[in-house]
Protein backbone atom coordinates (compact mmCIF):
# COMPACT_ATOMS: atom_id res chain seq x y z
CA UNK A 1 0.00 0.00 0.00
CA UNK A 2 1.48 3.28 -1.04
CA UNK A 3 1.88 6.22 1.28
CA UNK A 4 -0.89 8.23 -0.30
CA UNK A 5 -3.32 5.35 -0.26
CA UNK A 6 -2.36 4.47 3.28
CA UNK A 7 -2.98 8.04 4.44
CA UNK A 8 -6.29 8.10 2.63
CA UNK A 9 -7.26 4.86 4.33
CA UNK A 10 -6.29 6.28 7.71
CA UNK A 11 -8.28 9.43 7.13
CA UNK A 12 -11.28 7.45 5.99
CA UNK A 13 -11.12 5.19 8.99
CA UNK A 14 -11.77 8.11 11.29
CA UNK A 15 -14.93 9.21 9.53
CA UNK A 16 -16.18 6.06 7.84
CA UNK A 17 -18.90 5.67 10.45
CA UNK A 18 -20.14 9.16 9.63
CA UNK A 19 -20.07 8.30 5.93
CA UNK A 20 -22.13 5.20 6.54
CA UNK A 21 -24.61 7.16 8.61
CA UNK A 22 -24.83 9.72 5.84
CA UNK A 23 -25.48 6.97 3.29
CA UNK A 24 -28.35 5.46 5.25
CA UNK A 25 -29.66 8.92 6.02
CA UNK A 26 -30.36 9.27 2.34
CA UNK A 27 -31.96 5.87 2.00
CA UNK A 28 -31.82 2.55 3.87
CA UNK A 29 -29.27 0.20 2.40
CA UNK A 30 -27.72 -3.23 2.88
CA UNK A 31 -24.03 -3.81 3.36
CA UNK A 32 -22.74 -4.16 -0.16
CA UNK A 33 -25.09 -1.46 -1.38
CA UNK A 34 -23.39 0.95 1.01
CA UNK A 35 -20.01 -0.03 -0.37
CA UNK A 36 -21.24 0.78 -3.84
CA UNK A 37 -22.68 4.11 -2.80
CA UNK A 38 -19.44 5.09 -1.13
CA UNK A 39 -17.56 4.06 -4.23
CA UNK A 40 -19.90 6.13 -6.36
CA UNK A 41 -18.95 9.15 -4.21
CA UNK A 42 -15.27 8.57 -4.73
CA UNK A 43 -14.48 6.50 -1.65
CA UNK A 44 -13.19 3.52 -3.55
CA UNK A 45 -11.24 1.99 -0.78
CA UNK A 46 -12.92 0.81 2.33
CA UNK A 47 -9.54 0.29 3.91
CA UNK A 48 -8.86 -2.17 6.64
CA UNK A 49 -11.62 -4.33 8.01
CA UNK A 50 -14.32 -3.20 5.62
CA UNK A 51 -17.62 -1.67 6.60
CA UNK A 52 -19.13 -4.77 8.22
CA UNK A 53 -17.53 -4.47 11.64
CA UNK A 54 -18.43 -0.79 11.58
CA UNK A 55 -22.03 -1.58 10.76
CA UNK A 56 -21.99 -4.04 13.64
CA UNK A 57 -20.87 -1.28 16.00
CA UNK A 58 -23.41 1.19 14.69
CA UNK A 59 -26.10 -1.42 15.22
CA UNK A 60 -24.88 -2.28 18.70
CA UNK A 61 -24.82 1.37 19.69
CA UNK A 62 -28.31 1.93 18.37
CA UNK A 63 -27.18 4.44 15.76
CA UNK A 64 -28.89 2.43 13.03
CA UNK A 65 -31.95 0.23 12.99
CA UNK A 66 -32.15 -2.90 10.90
CA UNK A 67 -34.86 -4.78 9.10
CA UNK A 68 -35.05 -7.50 6.49
CA UNK A 69 -36.50 -7.01 3.05
CA UNK A 70 -36.20 -8.55 -0.39
CA UNK A 71 -33.85 -6.75 -2.73
CA UNK A 72 -34.84 -6.50 -6.37
CA UNK A 73 -36.14 -10.04 -6.49
CA UNK A 74 -33.10 -11.41 -4.69
CA UNK A 75 -32.91 -13.04 -1.29
CA UNK A 76 -33.94 -11.04 1.76
CA UNK A 77 -31.24 -8.60 2.79
CA UNK A 78 -30.51 -6.90 6.02
CA UNK A 79 -31.17 -3.22 5.58
CA UNK A 80 -29.80 -0.48 7.77
CA UNK A 81 -31.64 2.74 8.35
CA UNK A 82 -30.97 5.80 10.43
CA UNK A 83 -32.14 5.91 14.03
CA UNK A 84 -32.80 9.04 16.05
CA UNK A 85 -29.55 8.58 17.95
CA UNK A 86 -27.76 8.03 14.68
CA UNK A 87 -29.04 11.30 13.31
CA UNK A 88 -27.78 13.19 16.34
CA UNK A 89 -24.42 11.43 16.04
CA UNK A 90 -24.21 12.27 12.37
CA UNK A 91 -24.93 15.95 12.97
CA UNK A 92 -22.38 16.17 15.74
CA UNK A 93 -19.81 14.18 13.78
CA UNK A 94 -20.29 16.22 10.62
CA UNK A 95 -19.80 19.39 12.62
CA UNK A 96 -16.60 18.06 14.11
CA UNK A 97 -15.38 16.99 10.71
CA UNK A 98 -15.98 20.42 9.21
CA UNK A 99 -14.16 22.08 12.05
CA UNK A 100 -11.21 19.72 11.68
CA UNK A 101 -11.22 20.06 7.91
CA UNK A 102 -11.23 23.84 8.11
CA UNK A 103 -8.36 23.81 10.56
CA UNK A 104 -6.35 21.42 8.45
CA UNK A 105 -7.14 23.37 5.32
CA UNK A 106 -5.88 26.48 7.04
CA UNK A 107 -2.56 24.77 7.71
CA UNK A 108 -2.15 22.82 4.50
CA UNK A 109 -3.40 25.75 2.42
CA UNK A 110 -0.47 27.87 3.58
CA UNK A 111 2.00 25.17 2.70
CA UNK A 112 0.40 24.66 -0.67
CA UNK A 113 0.72 28.41 -1.37
CA UNK A 114 4.42 28.30 -0.60
CA UNK A 115 4.91 25.35 -2.94
Amino acid sequence: MGTAQGRRSQLLRGVLDLCLLAVVEEEPAYGYEMTKRLKARGLQTVGEGSIYPLLGRLEREGLVDTYRAASDGGPPRKYYRMSREGRRELEAGASEWRAARDAIDAVLGLIQAEV
Partner: protein, 217 residues
Amino acid sequence: MDRFVKECRKEWKRLGVPDAVANEMAADLAVDLEEARSEGASVEDVLGTGAFDPRAFAASWATERGVVSPSPPQHRAPWRSPMLVAVVAFAVVAAVGGGLLLGSHGRTAVPVPLAGPPFREVMPGRPPAFFRPPPFGGPQTRCTIHSPMPGQVTAPRCERLWAVPGPIAGFVVRAPSLAGNRAGWILFVVGVSGIVVLTLMWWVVPGPWSRRRSASP
Protein backbone atom coordinates in the same frame (compact mmCIF):
# COMPACT_ATOMS: atom_id res chain seq x y z
CA MET B 1 -16.01 -16.72 -1.68
CA ASP B 2 -17.70 -19.72 -0.12
CA ARG B 3 -14.39 -20.59 1.47
CA PHE B 4 -14.16 -17.09 2.91
CA VAL B 5 -17.58 -17.41 4.50
CA LYS B 6 -16.74 -20.87 5.81
CA GLU B 7 -13.62 -19.51 7.46
CA CYS B 8 -15.69 -16.78 9.03
CA ARG B 9 -18.15 -19.32 10.37
CA LYS B 10 -15.35 -21.33 11.93
CA GLU B 11 -14.10 -18.25 13.69
CA TRP B 12 -17.54 -17.29 14.95
CA LYS B 13 -18.04 -20.79 16.26
CA ARG B 14 -14.70 -20.62 18.01
CA LEU B 15 -15.64 -17.29 19.55
CA GLY B 16 -18.94 -18.60 20.82
CA VAL B 17 -21.12 -16.43 18.62
CA PRO B 18 -24.71 -17.71 18.92
CA ASP B 19 -25.67 -19.87 15.95
CA ALA B 20 -28.60 -17.67 14.98
CA VAL B 21 -26.41 -14.59 14.79
CA ALA B 22 -23.60 -16.43 13.01
CA ASN B 23 -26.07 -17.79 10.47
CA GLU B 24 -27.44 -14.32 9.86
CA MET B 25 -24.02 -12.74 9.40
CA ALA B 26 -22.87 -15.58 7.18
CA ALA B 27 -25.98 -15.33 5.02
CA ASP B 28 -25.66 -11.56 4.67
CA LEU B 29 -22.00 -11.82 3.80
CA ALA B 30 -22.56 -14.62 1.31
CA VAL B 31 -25.29 -12.72 -0.49
CA ASP B 32 -23.20 -9.54 -0.62
CA LEU B 33 -20.17 -11.39 -1.92
CA GLU B 34 -22.27 -13.19 -4.50
CA GLU B 35 -23.70 -9.92 -5.70
CA ALA B 36 -20.22 -8.43 -5.89
CA ARG B 37 -18.99 -11.43 -7.86
CA SER B 38 -21.88 -11.13 -10.30
CA GLU B 39 -20.87 -7.52 -10.87
CA GLY B 40 -17.26 -8.47 -11.47
CA ALA B 41 -15.99 -7.21 -8.13
CA SER B 42 -13.58 -9.12 -5.98
CA VAL B 43 -13.78 -9.95 -2.31
CA GLU B 44 -11.18 -7.28 -1.71
CA ASP B 45 -13.39 -4.70 -3.36
CA VAL B 46 -16.06 -5.47 -0.78
CA LEU B 47 -14.00 -6.18 2.32
CA GLY B 48 -10.82 -4.21 1.80
CA THR B 49 -7.81 -5.74 3.48
CA GLY B 50 -10.19 -7.89 5.51
CA ALA B 51 -10.37 -10.13 2.45
CA PHE B 52 -6.88 -11.43 3.21
CA ASP B 53 -7.63 -12.58 6.73
CA PRO B 54 -11.10 -14.03 7.08
CA ARG B 55 -10.61 -14.99 10.71
CA ALA B 56 -9.53 -11.53 11.76
CA PHE B 57 -12.35 -10.02 9.74
CA ALA B 58 -14.91 -12.35 11.32
CA ALA B 59 -13.59 -11.70 14.82
CA SER B 60 -13.65 -7.97 14.28
CA TRP B 61 -17.19 -8.03 12.97
CA ALA B 62 -18.51 -10.19 15.81
CA THR B 63 -16.68 -8.15 18.43
CA GLU B 64 -17.91 -4.82 17.11
CA ARG B 65 -21.40 -6.19 16.96
CA GLY B 66 -21.11 -7.34 20.54
CA VAL B 67 -22.01 -10.96 19.94
CA VAL B 68 -18.82 -12.59 21.10
CA SER B 69 -19.59 -14.54 24.22
CA PRO B 70 -17.32 -13.67 27.10
CA SER B 71 -14.65 -16.31 27.19
CA PRO B 72 -14.94 -18.55 30.22
CA PRO B 73 -12.16 -17.83 32.68
CA GLN B 74 -9.43 -20.38 32.40
CA HIS B 75 -9.37 -21.26 36.05
CA ARG B 76 -7.11 -23.97 37.16
CA ALA B 77 -8.80 -26.59 39.25
CA PRO B 78 -8.12 -25.78 42.92
CA TRP B 79 -6.42 -29.12 43.48
CA ARG B 80 -3.90 -28.16 40.83
CA SER B 81 -2.57 -25.28 42.85
CA PRO B 82 0.37 -26.79 44.74
CA MET B 83 0.54 -23.99 47.29
CA LEU B 84 -3.12 -24.25 48.18
CA VAL B 85 -2.95 -28.00 48.41
CA ALA B 86 0.07 -27.77 50.69
CA VAL B 87 -1.61 -25.27 53.01
CA VAL B 88 -4.82 -27.27 53.24
CA ALA B 89 -2.94 -30.49 53.81
CA PHE B 90 -0.82 -28.92 56.53
CA ALA B 91 -3.85 -27.50 58.31
CA VAL B 92 -5.69 -30.81 58.22
CA VAL B 93 -2.67 -32.84 59.29
CA ALA B 94 -1.89 -30.40 62.09
CA ALA B 95 -5.44 -30.40 63.39
CA VAL B 96 -5.83 -34.16 63.24
CA GLY B 97 -2.34 -34.85 64.53
CA GLY B 98 -2.75 -32.40 67.37
CA GLY B 99 -6.09 -33.92 68.27
CA LEU B 100 -4.67 -37.42 68.26
CA LEU B 101 -1.70 -36.34 70.33
CA LEU B 102 -3.95 -34.77 72.92
CA GLY B 103 -6.29 -37.74 72.97
CA SER B 104 -3.59 -40.36 73.19
CA HIS B 105 -1.86 -38.72 76.14
CA GLY B 106 -4.98 -38.72 78.18
CA ARG B 107 -6.31 -42.05 77.12
CA THR B 108 -3.45 -44.47 77.43
CA ALA B 109 -4.49 -47.20 79.82
CA VAL B 110 -2.10 -49.70 81.22
CA PRO B 111 -3.53 -52.70 83.03
CA VAL B 112 -1.84 -53.07 86.36
CA PRO B 113 -2.73 -55.67 88.94
CA LEU B 114 -3.27 -54.02 92.28
CA ALA B 115 -2.40 -55.73 95.46
CA GLY B 116 -4.26 -55.46 98.66
CA PRO B 117 -7.85 -55.35 99.68
CA PRO B 118 -10.51 -53.88 97.47
CA PHE B 119 -9.98 -50.23 97.07
CA ARG B 120 -12.40 -47.63 98.01
CA GLU B 121 -12.57 -44.26 96.57
CA VAL B 122 -9.78 -42.38 98.07
CA MET B 123 -10.39 -39.11 96.34
CA PRO B 124 -13.69 -37.54 95.46
CA GLY B 125 -14.57 -37.27 91.85
CA ARG B 126 -15.18 -39.62 89.06
CA PRO B 127 -12.99 -41.05 86.33
CA PRO B 128 -12.32 -38.84 83.32
CA ALA B 129 -14.95 -39.03 80.68
CA PHE B 130 -12.55 -40.52 78.17
CA PHE B 131 -11.64 -43.33 80.47
CA ARG B 132 -12.71 -46.79 79.34
CA PRO B 133 -11.71 -49.79 81.42
CA PRO B 134 -10.10 -52.52 79.41
CA PRO B 135 -12.05 -55.76 79.42
CA PHE B 136 -10.66 -57.86 82.22
CA GLY B 137 -11.98 -61.32 82.42
CA GLY B 138 -13.81 -62.59 85.48
CA PRO B 139 -15.00 -60.77 88.53
CA GLN B 140 -12.68 -57.88 89.11
CA THR B 141 -12.34 -54.72 90.90
CA ARG B 142 -12.06 -51.91 88.46
CA CYS B 143 -9.74 -49.24 89.54
CA THR B 144 -8.63 -46.11 87.88
CA ILE B 145 -5.38 -44.62 88.92
CA HIS B 146 -4.56 -41.28 87.45
CA SER B 147 -0.84 -40.94 87.71
CA PRO B 148 0.67 -37.48 87.86
CA MET B 149 3.64 -38.55 85.77
CA PRO B 150 4.02 -41.03 82.92
CA GLY B 151 5.30 -44.38 84.02
CA GLN B 152 4.36 -43.92 87.63
CA VAL B 153 1.90 -46.65 88.12
CA THR B 154 2.00 -47.46 91.78
CA ALA B 155 -1.02 -46.68 93.82
CA PRO B 156 0.68 -44.57 96.48
CA ARG B 157 1.68 -41.97 93.91
CA CYS B 158 -1.64 -41.91 92.23
CA GLU B 159 -3.50 -38.74 92.05
CA ARG B 160 -6.89 -40.30 92.10
CA LEU B 161 -8.10 -43.72 92.86
CA TRP B 162 -11.50 -45.15 92.28
CA ALA B 163 -12.39 -48.58 93.31
CA VAL B 164 -15.40 -50.77 93.30
CA PRO B 165 -15.80 -53.92 95.43
CA GLY B 166 -14.52 -57.18 94.02
CA PRO B 167 -11.29 -59.07 93.29
CA ILE B 168 -8.37 -56.77 92.89
CA ALA B 169 -7.39 -55.65 89.47
CA GLY B 170 -6.80 -52.28 88.06
CA PHE B 171 -5.16 -50.15 85.50
CA VAL B 172 -3.43 -46.89 85.30
CA VAL B 173 -4.42 -44.02 83.22
CA ARG B 174 -1.18 -42.42 82.33
CA ALA B 175 -1.10 -38.76 82.98
CA PRO B 176 -0.38 -36.65 79.95
CA SER B 177 3.17 -35.48 79.65
CA LEU B 178 3.50 -31.75 79.70
CA ALA B 179 5.62 -31.59 76.53
CA GLY B 180 3.33 -33.87 74.55
CA ASN B 181 0.33 -31.98 75.72
CA ARG B 182 1.77 -28.64 74.71
CA ALA B 183 2.82 -29.89 71.29
CA GLY B 184 -0.61 -31.40 70.81
CA TRP B 185 -2.35 -28.18 71.69
CA ILE B 186 -0.09 -26.12 69.45
CA LEU B 187 -0.63 -28.43 66.52
CA PHE B 188 -4.33 -28.58 67.13
CA VAL B 189 -4.74 -24.82 67.43
CA VAL B 190 -2.58 -24.14 64.38
CA GLY B 191 -4.45 -26.70 62.32
CA VAL B 192 -7.90 -25.55 63.33
CA SER B 193 -6.91 -21.92 62.84
CA GLY B 194 -5.65 -22.75 59.37
CA ILE B 195 -8.86 -24.51 58.49
CA VAL B 196 -10.93 -21.60 59.77
CA VAL B 197 -8.87 -19.06 57.83
CA LEU B 198 -9.04 -21.14 54.65
CA THR B 199 -12.78 -21.53 55.04
CA LEU B 200 -13.23 -17.79 55.51
CA MET B 201 -11.10 -17.10 52.46
CA TRP B 202 -13.08 -19.59 50.44
CA TRP B 203 -16.28 -17.94 51.60
CA VAL B 204 -15.38 -14.27 51.32
CA VAL B 205 -12.44 -13.63 49.02
CA PRO B 206 -13.20 -13.85 45.31
CA GLY B 207 -10.87 -16.06 43.36
CA PRO B 208 -10.71 -18.97 40.98
CA TRP B 209 -10.70 -21.41 43.87
CA SER B 210 -13.27 -19.50 45.89
CA ARG B 211 -16.97 -19.95 46.40
CA ARG B 212 -17.22 -16.48 44.87
CA ARG B 213 -15.70 -16.81 41.49
CA SER B 214 -13.85 -13.80 40.06
CA ALA B 215 -15.92 -11.76 37.69
CA SER B 216 -15.29 -12.58 34.09
CA PRO B 217 -13.56 -9.87 32.11
